[in-house]
Structures are given as C-alpha cells and as structure tokens.
Amino acid sequence: DAGITQSPRHKVTETGTPVTLRCHQTENHRYMYWYRQDPGHGLRLIHYSYGVKDTDKGEVSDGYSVSRSKTEDFLLTLESATSSQTSVYFCAIAQAGETAEAFFGQGTRLTVV
C-alpha cells in the first residue's frame, strides 16, 4: 500500500465546531485530493492540490478549506461543521496529474451531531 495516513480515522463533532482532517504521505507525490463519499453520490471532489501552496476547488468545496504547506501534508478544514458534512472522507495522492494512478487513504468517518 502507498504511504498515506489519514487522521483521525473516526471523529464525532458538534454542529458549528471547526474540524481539521489530516492527510500525510510518504511518497513525495505532487498531487493530493480530498473526496467525500456518500451513498448514491460516489466520490465527490472537495479540493485538490498540485503542489505546495497550490490548491483548487472541486465540485463540492463550499464549507471546506484546505492548506498544503509541505509536500507531505494536506489538511482539510470544515470551518463550521454541519450535519450535511457527515460523511466518509478520503484522501488520495498521485505522482503526476492526468495519467497517473491515484492511491487512496483508509478514510475518515466524520459524524456531525
């Protein structure tokens, strides 16, 4: 398995609180992605990064922000968690952009109550 670690693996938080999820890689891959997985919707891209401090929005970016200050770390922050953000969040990495295989982390199950 590719060296991707997501933390925490499980989290329960209250509505309105900020939450930060961390993705850490040891592969030195350039691209990093955050997805959320919900039944019936597959994986939807939240944000992605194509280098240190280079990030862009995905299709469901509202309510989320990201930061990448180092190659190995990509942080996803829920500014003020809502129940609609209850989901499983996956981080993925890829060596290059369009043709490279993406490797996925184990996922973080987030519950907002």
């Binding site: 992605y33 997805y35 019936g40 919707h41 597959g42 994986l43 939807r44 891209l45 992605y48 862009d56 995905g58 299709e59 996956f90 993925a92 890829a94 952009g97 369009e98 043709t99 295989e101 993406a102 996925f104 982390g105 184990q106 996922g107």
Partner: protein, 110 residues
C-alpha cells in the same frame, strides 16, 4: 466540465455469471479513464486504466474494459464473477482532476 455517469446502481448476480458495468463520460477531447474497486470496509484500489492505444484494456483479477470513443463509453467486463468480486465499482475520468461516477454496487451470490 467533465462528468461521469454509471448506468447501474446495484447489480446482483450469481457466481460464474458474466458482468458488464456501463460508464459514460461527457468530455469530447482526450481523456484518461480508470476503473476503481472498493471492497467492503476498504479504500479504493485501481482495477485498470486507459490512456491511449489498444482500446481493450486488461486489468487485475480478470477484469477488462473497452474504450469506445464514438460512444464516450468505457465499460467494465468480467466473463465469470466470483463471490469475492462483491464490491463497489467506480468509473473515473481524469482531465485535470480526477472525477468519479456515482458507483455501482455488485453483489455476487455464492
């Protein structure tokens, strides 16, 4: 914008049956296409990918997919499924970001 649609939400079949999952994408230019599989409780893993060349692509575990440019399709096939193929299957396209379809849950009855 690129988008990916998968035709079947849930497929149930018996062992040894043949499997075909449909995938269509909306972008008209050159695309890079993938099929990923997610076994219960696990993360996604790559089954196969297509960038160029032979439109019939072979992947792991006996899976193959055919790219038909005129139909904007990239369908996944397996001639004879096993119980261990029970999983969720995702088609994906990568133009400048990796986008996934909604997924197809495949249940194989022993």
């Amino acid at each position: 914008a690129q988008s990916v649609s998968q035709h079947n939400h849930h497929v149930i079949l018996s062992e040894a049956a043949s499997l075909e999952l449909g995938c269509n994408y909306s972008y008209g230019g050159t695309v890079n296409l993938f099929w990923y599989v997610q076994y219960p409780g696990q993360h996604l893993q790559l089954l196969l990918k297509y960038f160029s060349g032979d439109p019939l692509v072979k992947g792991i575990k006996g899976f193959e997919a055919e790219f038909i440019k005129s139909k904007f399709s990239f369908n996944l096939r397996k001639p004879s499924v096993q119980w261990s193929d029970t999983a969720e299957y995702f088609c994906a396209v990568n133009l400048y970001k990796l986008s996934f379809g909604a997924g197809t849950t495949v249940t194989v009855r022993a």
